[in-house]
Assembly symmetry: C3
Homo-oligomer: 139 residues x 3
């Protein structure tokens, strides 16, 4: 069995951002030389997500608006989590809707994807250093 | 390490449908001869889900109604994604609630399931050819 | 390839409870001797979740309140699933928001986690025996 583990680093300009990381994951896979297996991609911080959906900017604005309706940032004191030094309870909730991790099949050395699948990092409490893990096992 | 990769194809009569695929996945596992490992089952389209829940028709109606409340299809122009040729933004959102993929443990050549676990394909923008991937690695 | 499969058992005092299981999973990993691979942790019941988020009691109360808004338990007869002997439709829905499973990378014999990642069992219809599966494959 072969395995590889790499990090992707982010420090976003905005509090909420959705970033396409498909090519970064593909490069890690190619460098690993793994031809058959599974690739786990997960946020390493609990106010961020990794998810697979469409690379369409209108939809990304829809996602942000929808998540803000389901788990509003303000008023921040509506959440118990925010009654100390924190103000990011909404980001912990948004992360549950969008998910922590995706697992991608590796076949013939490629991300085994449907026609529109793209991997995104979902940042919900940004402007600081955060990481995504890419772990691939196989042979 | 052994691995297998198979597709399940769907073309639903309705826009939204929930379909039990447990036996299809089980057959792929049996044919693979893999006894210990992990089985990834994921929608290959970004307006569909794969999830594990109850095979109970009343609950499935509840799911459809609940998803329609959380991410309504109409009016379609409430979503930026739909201001071109698309009208399926709600399906992209519903897919995030229900999830893209499940990973199932394989033990002694069986899907290692609790008493009620069943795997479903969740179609949210149907009436066209779409695929689910089944990827199993192990030995 | 090495693999291990263990269960964690729960019988909660309350209908809804969030329980930190990180140390239980870590012990199973250590006992397995697996150094590189993937660890799948999943609820084996369809009215419960396994998720990764923050070990902060205020946030856990926020989660419970938020889930109750998104999928209220009462009135129970608002759900078709509950029109027979069941009254737990809301738990099936809450489980979709919080997720069935997480996959954790194993590197150098450790759960390869960010600084705040902790694994939780989310019970949404408790007061009875239920299980979580831990399956690790690797070498």
């Amino acid at each position: 069995m072969k395995s590889t583990r790499e990090y992707l680093w982010f420090n976003t300009d905005s509090r909420v951002e959705l970033i396409n990381i498909t090519e970064d994951v593909r490069k890690i896979l190619t460098d690993s030389g793994i031809k058959e297996g599974l690739c786990l991609v997960n946020a390493m911080h609990i106010t961020a997500s990794v998810f697979i959906n469409d690379a369409e900017s209108g939809l990304h604005e829809d996602f942000k608006e929808w998540l803000e309706e389901l788990a509003p940032h303000e008023p921040t004191d509506q959440y118990r989590h925010n009654r100390g030094v924190e103000n990011n309870a909404d980001a912990h909730l948004k992360r549950q809707i969008m998910g922590r991790d995706v697992t991608v099949a590796i076949t013939d050395g490629e991300l085994d994807f449907g026609p529109w699948e793209q991997i995104f990092y979902g940042e919900f409490d940004g402007k600081r250093d955060k990481r995504v893990m890419v772990k691939i096992i196989g042979e």
